[in-house]
Symmetry: C2
Subunit: 207 residues, 2 copies
């Protein structure tokens, strides 16, 4: 598709720009309400001592997520995508240019809550992360292999709820590795903080 | 958009076809893992004594949902949409023609798990239902008003998990009515069966 190719070109330009500025950029994708924003809040809390962090929050509407994250004292830009079910490289390029003037080391991009659309729209990030939560059940990874194939890291969040949902977490981990044998999987509770330091290691950041 | 107009035309043809066959058709939309299939399982259990039911299950990949529902003894057709994040009227037209030969009274259509894309693609159903679950948090309805605006019924599922998640259900009900003052809201637990009979009333079906 022409618009996929066009997006890929801009994503590659974005990556070059991020490298020129020596900024590490992470594309955090995942289902609606899986815990992307809460995970970013935990990452910012732990990492802001050591890194200058900027955040780009993408959603169809509202500024809820950028407002939540900015309470942790980092510049946060909200992008509203309207009817589009994913961020694209051009939207991110414009927002990133804004952040890059602030002498930033890391950019966390929160993608639109959707387990389908973002897969085919790389943003130029150094790593792509996909977040699902145990409360979505046992089938979502089997059903949505495409997004796991393009992700470097898979996060299975809301570990603290697995017992109430009767969910076998090991089975979810297996599903992720079956979709993508190269994916690195981490199980987290953004609520308790469990697994967040392991996630930071997978992002190749230091505490 | 031309493809939106084209879909609307086929949706209207579908509605006429359903009316000719005297079949009531329900488009069940909602976020991934919100409980659409489990709700359909509960509806089939209760209603199959009184109604001949057929089911169309839409998903990007796998036959998991159609297989689950067919265990309840009703004809179930799986549609795989590939990269498309929503069913469309043409896909449904073909599957429905298959079911209509079986002297059916009701068709439940399970749409692809997605809180964005299905909004703009009516299928010709008599009622559109959107399902979210309390485990997605407190913001998803505020963020996704478009899909609530096109829905006749809003279901807030996994009521049994609200206490563990610390979610105020009344606040979610208010959000749905704020997005669409005409929507009928029902709170359910597809796990315990709570609220399912109330949903059946809203579907204007008899037990
Ligand atoms: N129990 C539990 N709840 C969590 C956890 N992580 C997030 N939540 C809750 O889940 C809900 C959704 O979390 P968010 O961080 O807003 O999810 P999100 O992926 O950013 O959602 P969208 O941006 O709307 O797609 C909120 O009520 C959070 O408090 C967790 O590990 N355990
Ligand atoms: N605790 C609880 N779990 C539920 C409830 N309804 C569904 N579930 C569970 O939630 C998970 C997802 O349910 P499904 O019915 O598969 O959800 P779905 O909306 O059909 O999912 P997709 O078709 O993949 O989008 C499963 O583990 C269900 O057992 C409920 O009311 N309470
Ligand atoms: Mg968020
Ligand atoms: Mg389902």
């Amino acid at each position: 598709e022409d618009f996929l190719k066009a997006n890929e070109k801009i994503a590659n330009l974005n990556r070059k720009m991020f490298n020129r500025y020596n900024v590490k950029v992470f594309d955090i994708m995942g289902s609606i309400g899986s815990g992307k924003t809460t995970i970013i809040e935990r990452l910012v809390e732990i990492l802001k001592e050591k890194y200058r962090i900027g955040v780009i929050a993408g959603d169809t509407s509202t500024t809820i997520d950028a407002e939540r994250i900015s309470k942790y004292g980092v510049p946060s830009i909200q992008i509203n995508t309207g009817k589009e079910c994913h961020l694209d490289a051009l939207m991110v390029r414009k927002a990133a240019k804004n952040l890059l003037r602030k002498n930033i080391d890391i950019i966390f991009i929160e993608n639109v809550g959707n387990l389908i659309c973002p897969a085919d729209f790389p943003l130029g990030a150094h790593k792509r992360i996909v977040v699902v939560s145990v409360t979505e059940g046992e089938y979502m990874i089997k059903k949505k292999q495409d997004i796991f194939r393009v992700a470097d890291i898979g996060v299975i969040n809301k570990k603290d709820m697995a017992v109430y949902m009767g969910i076998d977490i090991n089975s979810l981990v297996r599903d992720a590795l079956e979709a993508n044998p190269n994916i690195k999987v981490v199980v987290t509770s953004a609520k308790t903080g469990e697994g967040i330091r392991e996630l930071i290691n997978l992002l190749e950041l230091k505490i």
